[in-house]
Subunit: 246 residues, 5 copies
């Protein structure tokens, strides 16, 4: 559990790094693999004492990635240094990073106008992930026509969007911004315990005005909350750990 203190009024750097373990890592001795996992997990846990760091497994939900580390910090240097250290582990000799999303927090005019003054300046600038079982992450880019609408037109579209979202109270949204820092405009991260609720929400939003201005919103990552070692164990469960199936 992260212990990073919130600094009011300061924007945060946000990083979603998706890892895939090379198939030939599985040819290594089980003991060696355990040492690889312990070193990597220990490093992640060390960083969780300074930054907001969360661990997720994508085994079974996607075929192109195995796990994801979500890091939030007030310093870009932390983002780069943690990755540099992860790449210095022995496990990194068998790791690839097929997807990587860099973003920042930002005050949202839309939410403030919808919710009333002051509310958003607190919640948007510092992320506070809850304890939900699933996280759904995707990069979002709007078509340029969206930015050609008037402010009122966009506010109206966002009001509709936010209102639909509010009817699914089990789903919490974290919005981050990537303009100029990475290939997408936004990275969205939704938390919920009920995948079916999120599915229904996304399907209902397809009919909204703002949805019609989406250029791309894939890939979509279904991520299951876990801890550092659980995230790595899931990459290759050994029979000894699955007695129920013996």
């Amino acid at each position: 559990m992260s212990t990073m203190e919130t600094r009011p009024g300061r924007r945060q750097y946000v990083k979603f790094t998706f890892f895939k373990v090379a198939a030939d890592w599985r040819r290594l001795d089980a003991g060696l693999r355990d040492r690889h996992k312990a070193e990597f997990a220990s490093l992640v846990e060390g960083w969780a004492e300074r930054n907001l760091v969360r661990c997720y497994s994508t085994v079974g939900t996607r075929g192109d990635v195995d796990f994801m580390v979500w890091q939030v910090s007030y310093e870009m240097d932390d983002i780069q240094r943690m990755q540099s250290e992860l790449l210095g582990t022995d496990l990194a000799a068998y790791l690839d990073t097929p997807f990587s999303y860099l973003s920042m927090t930002k005050h949202s005019n839309y939410v403030e106008k919808y919710s009333g003054p002051g509310r958003d300046s607190f919640t948007r600038l510092s992320l506070a992930p809850g304890e939900h079982k699933y996280l759904f992450v995707y990069p979002l880019t709007k078509v340029r026509e969206w930015y050609g609408l008037t402010g009122d037109e966009r506010q109206e579209a966002m009001n509709q969007h936010i209102a639909i979202g509010h009817t699914y109270s089990s789903v919490k949204l974290n919005t981050t911004y990537s303009f100029g820092l990475d290939d997408q405009e936004f990275v969205l991260a939704f938390e919920t315990d009920e995948p079916g609720d999120f599915l229904d929400l996304v399907q209902e939003l397809r009919g909204s005005v703002s949805s019609a201005y989406t250029l791309t919103d894939v890939p979509i990552f279904t991520c299951a909350t876990t801890d550092a070692l659980g995230m790595l164990d899931a990459v290759a469960a050994s029979p000894a750990r699955v007695p129920a199936l013996a």
Copy 2:
């Protein structure tokens, strides 16, 4: 044959995982490869006692994948755990998963309105694959304009679509939903014994209204029903097993 009990009113998690065996697996000793196959097949068979699990070969129908495992469960944990265990086998050191589709079942308003009340709530929420020889799977995403149509317009388009489908009685459709869980909106799985019938159906549907609102419906996977060991044997038939060609 799966023995999972149906739980009325509960939605199911659905997973289609396509595997490809690395070419250099074929450089291994035949005995070792047989042990790899036996371990993997045994694990799949064990899961088939708890979940709905079906095995398919794509050797010869596509060049980018070798076989597919179709898993259905009421628990997302099962989807992740089975894949985690498959990745823990010795064969997994030579496996890649080029395509992977996660979805859920969902009640369909379209079908209920077309067929009358009550019929769909049963058939749609729990999948019940038959014993047909071929399965045709593809991810589907509609253009956003589809969601801008009125409910009546969409219902009318779907009525036409369903009616055409009904004229091909040898083809059975399983519709699943991926909104927000994976890159596509739907994953469709058609069962039939006659590939030519399915080909003719798809060609005829090209002229339907709903087809004009398709954004993407590829890749399309032609999958042949088999069992766990047959699915693995097909990856590399040894001469000893093909006496007819001696």
Copy 3:
């Protein structure tokens, strides 16, 4: 030369499989490579006694594939089994299949209406490749607007298309259908001895009505007719076989 008997009124399964040999296969001993080639060629020749099987080299015409095997059979099982056996050879440990197209034959209403009753039902349902030196293969998908035209509009467009084709008498067309079976709608295979004639035909067709409704018609494969061993020898000509350049 294939000896498969024609079965009037029955549709055929058609498979175009493009192979690429891994670069490191060339690091093997020449004698071992010769045994690899002999085993693979022998298997292909065995199948040519039961199915229509043709061999082509793409060395020098493309950079992403080395050779292609064209198989036609009345049984889908044959398509899958031959590929399974090819993957069981020693050479397969060094083979990839970057492109693969599965299709079927089908009666064409367009051709019958253009040519008169009865003619097409014979020629379209069973393929009969000639002895031309080159084969040009590509997958074709039309835009959905094509299927929104009336039958008369499409027939008129096809009449123009067929008429242009007939002015190039040295070029023979084999049309096959992939709707629902594979990613494309059609796989077209043109035979000719004169690449320049085919180039001119394709350029002239660019101005036709039906061409304007093309969504995608690439990749385009220029394939040179050869036999099973010639197809494999071309993958890496040894100096001893090129005395003219000594």
Copy 4:
């Protein structure tokens, strides 16, 4: 620090080369890796005595590249020779170059008309990177409709674009041209110490007229300024170098 002399009136060749280190490089002995890094860094430093050469780390900001070398020279031969020598190092046996952008400097009519005569001819033909902490690089291609506008229409759009840029005084832009030399039309490189400012600038520019004529402006690379050895050390930080986390 580069010492290349400016030659007034001469155009420069500009190269952005993004490198990725193969995962298996991390399996080598640490001492050997240090020698690899020293050789590569020494070569880069040697070239920095003749050309403008800057080093950047992308570890943690992207998943597909590890570092970038920015080279500017009045001679194309220098661009090719430096890369040839870098590829001759021992490290190069473990390097890939996933992204590479070649461009030239060019006098800008837009800037001259906006800023007044003479100003641009100096600043645009020779690049002079400052000492800012971050560099944001992306290739840009406009839609062809942009080139169908009249000169006045384009000038007006660029005036708006430049004016917005001037309100972010902490951000400095380097514009280079790739027409016919590489896949993109322009390569843009922005320098700043504040990523958040650049993010806000790019978001604000989304509403500009010229932005509506963008065909593609990705990938976007967030690059952190460093020196040759720091750029290589960041690829895999050893625990000994991260005492704060011990």
Copy 5:
């Protein structure tokens, strides 16, 4: 220097093959690598006595390819055989061919109408590369709407295009045709000593009518003229060969 005799009235086959050397080739002993290069270069030089064969380095201008061999012959067999022999060298065990373009020469109606009768029939059917330092190569495909214009409209557009080209006298164009033979419609190869002139020409052509009908014109390859051994030496310059930097 090629010695192939021109055969008036006959069309030529044209091949642009782009090679990339695997990174692990650099792990081989320097003496072995020199033997690899000598064998490959000797084979290329042998073919240059029968066909038109030119060698180019792309090291430093692109990241995805290292060198290109341009071959022109009156026989398709020569195109296939030379590649087959190149793939039979020891170096080929470490080579990939990421890009490959096959085309033919063809008489151009546009040029004849622009230049007057008879001029083009000679220059277009047989290529005659000059001794310029740089070659710029790209595949070109037009949108289908281009082929829906009348002949006069296309001629007018081409007149404008050709006229702009003629104002850059230092740039020479070689146009070749790929319809039906390969994925693109044309392969264009421009020769010049001044990259900046070509850049300015391409930028100026962006405003032409014919440019608006471009579907795709990438990748664009900047290629530096060299000989067979120079092309291979540039792939990895050894320190001993770069004394100026000692």
